[in-house]
C-alpha cells in the first residue's frame, strides 16, 4: 500500500473549521434528540407497566411500531414525507430553520425514544413489586408512586444500558448525512471530496467519534458507581445497537 500521508490537510484551508462545525452539529443533534428520546422513553416505558391496559396497549403500539422500522427509513419519512402534511405556516417556519436538522431530530427522538422505553421498562420491572405496593399502601396515588418512587429508582438502575443506548443515538446521528445534515460524517466526506485525502479525513472523523464515545462511557461509568443502590442490581441486559 503506497499512500503518502498528509495530515496537514486536516487543518489547512476550510477543512479544520468544517470538522469543528460538523462536530458541533453532531453534538447539537444528538443532545437535542437525546433529551426528547429520554422524555418519550420515560413516559412510554412507565406506561408499559401501568395498571391500566389501554395505556399499556398504547405504549406497546408506539414502541413496536417505531422500533421495528430502520432508522434510515424514519429519516426519509420525516424529511421527505411528513413535512408535507404540516399546515402551511409550519412548513414555512421549517423551511426557514433548516428542515434537515429538525427532521433528523424528530426521527432520532422518536426511534430512540422507543428503544429507550424498553430499557426503562426493564428498569421499572426490576424494582421489586412490593416496593410499589408499599408506596400505594402508605397513601401515594399510582401516579405519585411512579413519579416519586419507581421511576427515580429505575433511572438509577438502568444507567449502564441507558448509556449504551445513548451512545447508539450519538453514533446513529451519523445517518443524518443521508438527508443532508452537515454533521461530522458529512463533513468528513466533504473534506474527502475536496482534497481526495480519504485516509486522513476518515481517520479524523473516526478518532473524534471514538474520543466522544469513550469519554461519555467512562464518565457514565463513574456516575454509575456514584449512584449505585447497594443490594439492587438491574436485570437489564446489554442492548444491541
Amino acid at each position: 500500500m503506497n499512500y503518502d500521508l498528509q495530515w496537514s490537510i486536516l487543518w489547512t484551508g476550510e477543512n479544520g473549521r468544517w470538522l469543528l462545525e460538523g462536530l458541533w452539529t453532531t453534538i447539537r443533534l444528538s443532545a437535542l434528540s437525546w433529551i426528547f428520546a429520554c422524555g418519550l422513553g420515560v413516559l412510554s416505558g412507565a406506561l408499559r407497566t401501568a395498571p391500566l391496559w389501554p395505556l399499556r396497549a398504547l405504549a406497546t403500539c408506539y414502541v413496536e411500531f417505531f422500533r421495528n422500522v430502520p432508522l434510515l427509513v424514519w429519516l426519509f419519512f420525516w424529511y421527505f414525507g411528513a413535512p408535507q402534511a404540516l399546515p402551511r405556516p409550519a412548513q414555512d417556519w421549517l423551511n426557514l430553520h433548516g428542515p434537515e436538522f429538525w427532521s433528523a431530530v424528530v426521527a432520532l427522538s422518536v426511534y430512540h425514544g422507543a428503544r429507550m422505553s424498553e430499557v426503562i421498562r426493564a428498569g421499572i420491572q426490576s424494582v421489586p413489586r412490593t416496593l410499589f405496593e408499599a408506596s400505594v399502601a402508605t397513601g401515594l396515588s399510582v401516579g405519585q408512586a411512579y413519579r416519586l418512587i419507581l421511576i427515580p429508582i429505575a433511572l438509577r438502575l438502568i444507567i449502564p444500558p441507558a448509556t449504551n443506548e445513548s451512545l447508539n443515538l450519538l453514533k446513529n446521528s451519523s445517518l443524518a448525512l443521508t438527508i443532508g445534515v452537515a454533521e461530522l460524517t458529512f463533513m468528513t466526506r466533504q473534506i474527502e471530496t475536496y482534497t481526495a485525502r480519504a485516509f486522513e479525513a476518515l481517520t479524523a472523523g473516526t478518532l473524534i467519534y471514538l474520543v466522544l464515545c469513550l469519554t461519555i462511557a467512562s464518565v457514565m461509568g463513574q456516575v454509575e458507581r456514584a449512584l449505585r443502590i447497594p443490594g439492587l442490581i438491574a436485570r437489564t441486559g446489554r442492548s444491541e445497537h
Partner: protein, 118 residues
C-alpha cells in the same frame, strides 16, 4: 395532501424482488445482504468473544481493542472505511455488495463478540 398508493402497486415487483430479496440488476437487497452478514458476523463474533476471554494477553488485548473501536464508531463510518481501504490494499475495486457485506460482518462481529463474552 393527497396520496397515490398506485405507485406502490405499480412497483411492488421491484420493491420486493430487488429491495427485499436482491434479485435484479442492482447489487443489494435487504435479505441478500442481511442473511450472509448475520451468518458470517456470528462466526467472527464467536471467535472475537472467545479471544476476549483468553488468558493470554496477546490474544485478549487485540480482541478488546477490536470491540472497543468498532463499538465506538458509527456503521456508516465503517462502510466508508471499507469503501476506501479495500481498493487501496487489494489494488482492485470490489463490487458494492462485497464492500457492504464486509463492513456489516466486521461491525456486527464486535457487538456479537460482546454478547458471546457475556
Amino acid at each position: 395532501m393527497s396520496f397515490d398508493w398506485g405507485i406502490i402497486a405499480g412497483n411492488w415487483k421491484f420493491l420486493l424482488l430487488q429491495g427485499l430479496f436482491g434479485i435484479g440488476s442492482f447489487g443489494g437487497g435487504t435479505l441478500r445482504l442481511a442473511i450472509p452478514a448475520m451468518v458470517l458476523g456470528s462466526i467472527l463474533g464467536v471467535v472475537i468473544g472467545l479471544c476476549r476471554l483468553a488468558s493470554r494477553r496477546w490474544i485478549s488485548y487485540p480482541a478488546v481493542l477490536y470491540v472497543e473501536i468498532f463499538r465506538g464508531v458509527p456503521l456508516v463510518m465503517v462502510i466508508f472505511w471499507f469503501w476506501f481501504l479495500i481498493p487501496q490494499m487489494t489494488g482492485q475495486r470490489l463490487p458494492d455488495y462485497a464492500v457492504a457485506l464486509a463492513a456489516f460482518v466486521v461491525f456486527e462481529a464486535a457487538y456479537l463478540g460482546e454478547i458471546v463474552r457475556a
